[in-house]
């Protein structure tokens, strides 16, 4: 395998609905932005592409990947579609990495999109719930918010996590997004606002849950030679990991914790793992990526994280999977302020701020979640953060971290069935 760098990225602004554009046009917007950011890159220099979208039901068009590819003018070069539920975008990013790492391509475009506005919200929930076992789970009341609510109720039972701690995640991510022009929801909220919004699946309220979106995102990945020809500030991908778990969460084992390098067996004497309170796939993906990037103590060695916060609860659970804190300490981790941005006022009393900012962009909860684009959106936001170009792309430097040399991106599918973790670092 050879080193792979990201040299450019672009995102179409995520909206509740984009009736003015088909998916090809949205991908084109993200692609054009990406190309505009690296003027030395000509379309002829792109060796091929990987494309991603989650649901054929939303798209109502099979082989949509090739239609985006031909719209971009990238035929007859290689392309394929990558899909894995909510982690579709993260898997696509890693498929792009594989294309370059293997030597098959010197320059690869990874693009993704979703068009979720094409059905009404409750139909959309039905489409998403079809990504659960249709023999045993879907007919009982297929609803992803219900599944995640069951998972967090067990987390609350095991560890004493509180709904206020979950609400703090929502306050943080909406507030971060206040300064991100790409975000779909830019709001100043209080913990009370989150708790007082409509109850969707107990204990998750409307503001604990991300919304559906239309949108697209694109990343250009390149070999070392090409990366330094194209930009002075390439970002190196130093670790990739992909984890999986049983589709039916009823089938998840109750065994021993998979230990991170900074943990020991005695930390978890009575914990049955992963059960339904934790995401074993997230732990697996994280540990693979840490090993590859040579990370031993993630909270000290990573500057920021963009993670898959489809639910406030899953952000808390993911702190633990990624070993930013011990299993069970996720609620306390946010309550103490560790994942907040140091420079932003959240209207909350926090003991400490900015130990490791999580979702500086606003995450899925505030930016939106056009599934196939989401994991790539995280890569783009992390790329700009590491490059130090947030001001250029957001129009304000409010969200630029002072130290952003190494970031982690995390993409997650259906109750933790597919999870990807990729480590991105300053490459120049």
């Amino acid at each position: 395998m050879r080193p792979v760098y990201m040299v450019s990225g672009g995102v179409s602004k995520f909206e509740k609905a984009r009736p003015d554009a088909t998916f090809q046009k949205m991908v084109k917007e993200a692609f054009d932005y990406t190309m505009g950011d690296v003027p030395r890159l000509k379309p002829s220099m792109i060796d091929g592409s990987v494309g991603s979208y989650f649901s054929d039901h939303f798209t109502r068009q099979l082989m949509a990947g090739i239609m985006a590819t031909d719209y971009l003018g990238l035929c007859p070069k290689p392309n394929k579609r990558v899909e894995g539920g909510g982690a579709t975008g993260g898997l696509c990013f890693q498929a792009g990495w594989e294309s370059v790492a293997s030597g098959r391509m010197d320059v690869c475009l990874a693009f993704g999109f979703e068009t979720m506005s094409h059905v009404q919200t409750w139909k959309g929930n039905e489409f998403i719930a079809l990504a659960s076992d249709v023999n045993f789970d879907y007919p009982v009341g297929g609803f992803y918010s219900g599944y995640y609510a069951m998972m967090v109720n067990r987390h609350i039972h095991e560890f004493g996590t509180t709904v206020e701690q979950m609400a703090m995640v929502s306050v943080k991510n909406h507030m971060n997004a206040y300064n991100n022009p790409y975000a779909q929801k830019r709001k100043r909220l209080t913990i009370q606002d989150v708790r007082n919004s409509a109850m969707v699946a107990y204990p998750l309220t409307l503001l604990d849950i991300c919304v559906m979106s239309d949108g697209a995102a694109a990343c250009i990945l390149a070999s070392e030679d090409m990366a330094f020809k194209l930009t002075d500030r390439p970002v190196k991908i130093t670790g990739v990991g992909t984890g999986t778990d049983m589709m039916r969460m009823a089938d998840r084992p109750h065994g021993e914790v998979i230990l991170a390098p900074n943990e020991k067996k005695s930390d978890y004497r009575n914990l049955k793992y992963p059960g339904v309170h934790s995401f074993r796939a997230g732990r697996s993906a994280g540990l693979q990526a840490y090993k590859m990037a040579g990370i031993k103590d993630p909270i000290k060695e990573i500057d920021f994280v963009e993670l898959h916060d489809a639910y406030t609860s899953s952000e808390i659970q993911t702190y633990e999977d990624l070993a930013l804190c011990k299993y069970g300490d996720g609620g306390k981790f946010v309550e103490e302020g560790h994942p907040f941005m140091p420079q932003i006022d959240y209207g909350l009393k926090l003991k400490t701020k900015g130990t490791i900012p999580v979702n500086p962009s606003g995450g899925l909860i505030a930016c939106g979640h056009p599934v196939g684009a989401t994991g790539l959106m995280q890569a783009v936001f992390a790329f700009w953060q590491i490059q130090g170009t947030i001001k250029k792309h957001y129009g304000s430097a409010e969200l630029q971290l002072k130290k952003a040399n190494r970031g982690l991106i995390h993409s997650h599918a259906g109750t933790g069935t597919y999870v990807t973790v990729s480590i991105m670092e300053r490459g120049w």
Binding site: W122, N125, M246, A250
Partner: protein, 187 residues
Amino acid sequence: MAKKIDAKTINAPRHNPAAKLDEIMTGTTVFNIPFPKDLNALKTMSPIIIKHPYYVEYIHSYGQDSPFFAGLANKKLLGTRCGKCSYTYATPRLHCTKCGKETKWVELPQEGRVHTFTTCYFGSEEFLKDTPFHLVLVEFDGVDTLFLTRLIGVEGPEDIKIGMKIRAKFRRNSQLKPTDVYFVPAG
């Protein structure tokens, strides 16, 4: 589309400026669309949005899992057990995920405990009519995995406790769906 107004407004203020009507999928049939004389004006035209129904009847087989549904129709809750490693599945699978060997069918106890739960006030379109409904994962003594089901006989989430005993009941007229079994508080 039936929706329960009480669920949505459970936490709403008395005067709610954010109140709005739900969008509906009915409309007027249109046979003509305005068109500009100047083709350059076409790019400022609003998008045309049409309704596109999509309905399919599948010939869906439960395959090797079929005995589970036959069991429900006969008031039996069936799981599977690995002959080699004895791992026991509350939601059946014909091959053991731990060792790969074929499992055998076993009858599960009809009483278990709530492993975790939720109450859904919204849901996928197909289940909106049922809201609010309660989902639980059931744990059984001597069984390694859990079983997803609906719990009835309770009002709200405050009535459901992790660890509480619950008991299986079966529909008399089987629908050959996993919802042929449901659980109630054991009393």
